[in-house]
């Protein structure tokens, strides 16, 4: 039965989502790689922001115009990394005319609201609390797949530039579990751009 969801996945073709994961922790790199592979993604894992930029061709060596190489559909980055933080990486990506449309998800073991807010302000798609679970990754990748497939282009692009995110909000609120942030064991908290649009 070709339901809408199935059509979308086949629209992506044989192409799986290609996710670039960035984390300085060897343990976390191994885990996120497995989580993404189980979620049917093609995965590239790097250990730092500068390596990520190198991989994307954004390391300033060559102009990114006409850079044909890498197609990345999603970037998942740790926040606290030596050298370049995930926040700084996020900024560099959003400053790039070529790569700014790639959704970026930031992961952190620390539930610091100002940190979350600044990432969302800077254009992060989501902020995930570590340790990241399979359900978090599936939710993110499912969402990106739907967004990618819908119009054949990235519908996230339109939503972001309009700064009107009712569809995103609906998608997020339908899957996010309202959590009390003050409760002690940190569940995976799903912070979306909904908070960003309400600030603006």
């Amino acid at each position: 039965m070709a339901a809408a969801g199935n059509l979308l996945s086949t629209e992506m073709g044989a192409g799986k989502l290609h996710v670039l994961a960035v984390d300085d922790s060897h343990v976390d790199r191994k885990v996120i790689e497995r989580l993404l592979k189980i979620s049917s993604c093609k995965v590239t894992v790097v250990e730092s922001g500068s390596r990520a930029l190198q991989y994307l061709g954004l390391d300033g060596d060559k102009s990114s115009i006409g850079f044909d190489g890498v197609k990345v559909n999603l970037i998942m980055t740790d926040y606290s990394m030596p050298g370049m933080t995930g926040y700084e990486l996020l900024k560099r990506i959003k400053e790039s005319s070529v790569f700014r449309e790639i959704p970026v998800v930031v992961m952190s073991s620390e539930n610091i609201l100002t940190r979350i807010d600044s990432c969302l302000e800077e254009g992060a798609e989501e902020f995930l609390l570590k340790p990241v679970k399979l359900s978090d990754v599936k939710r993110v990748t499912d969402f990106i797949m739907r967004g990618e497939g819908k119009n054949g282009t990235r519908s996230l692009k339109r939503s972001r530039s309009d700064d009107c995110t009712p569809s995103l909000t609906a998608a997020f609120t339908s899957v996010s579990h309202p959590r009390d942030l003050s409760s002690s064991p940190p569940p995976s908290i799903f912070h979306s751009k909904k908070s960003r649009s309400s600030i603006d």
Binding site: S25, H26, V27, D28, K30, V31, R34, L35, I38, S80, P82, S109, K130, P131, K133, L134
Partner: protein, 150 residues
């Protein structure tokens, strides 16, 4: 046949005890769920990386606390890493001590840090030994022709 069943039962019980006693939390369970026939050694591989990380970091922490003038920022950075990786594999007790350790660093409390270092070394050696036992028991079940169910 009896032998395998007994081994499997012991394994299940031992596994459960690690959770009951708080050595491991749900994150370890999450990792076990990620293991399958195509990746039969996933948990051992991740835990091995954790051991390598922890050995290195505990070494660094010991050195850093042995300095005449203690660099608390650097200390904190190491503890943060250890906190992260222990959390990622579900080593709950190690993770908890790291949280206290970070507080000691923030307070620049040398006594506190020294105590926390002892605690974290102790908890780490406990969980390491238990995980190694767990893996050994799994190998025994597999060697006897049984399967390690998740």
């Amino acid at each position: 046949m009896d032998g395998i069943v007994q081994l499997q039962r012991q394994l299940v019980d031992y596994n459960a005890s690690l959770f009951h006693e708080g050595f491991l939390d749900d994150q370890f369970n999450q990792l076990q769920q990620l293991q399958d026939e195509s990746n039969p050694d996933f948990v051992v591989e991740v835990v091995t990386l954790f051991f390598e990380d922890a050995d290195r970091l505990l070494n660094e922490l010991t050195k850093a606390l042995g300095q005449p003038s203690i660099d608390f920022k650097r200390l904190d950075a190491h503890v943060h890493q250890l906190k992260g990786s222990s959390s990622s594999i579900g080593a709950q007790r190690v993770h908890r001590v790291c949280i206290s350790f970070r507080n000691s660093c923030e307070e620049q409390n040398v006594e506190g840090c020294l105590k926390n270092l002892q605690q974290v070394k102790h908890e780490y050696s406990l969980v390491k030994s238990k995980l190694e036992t767990l893996f050994r028991m799994e190998q025994q079940v597999l060697a006897a022709g049984g399967s390690v169910s998740r």
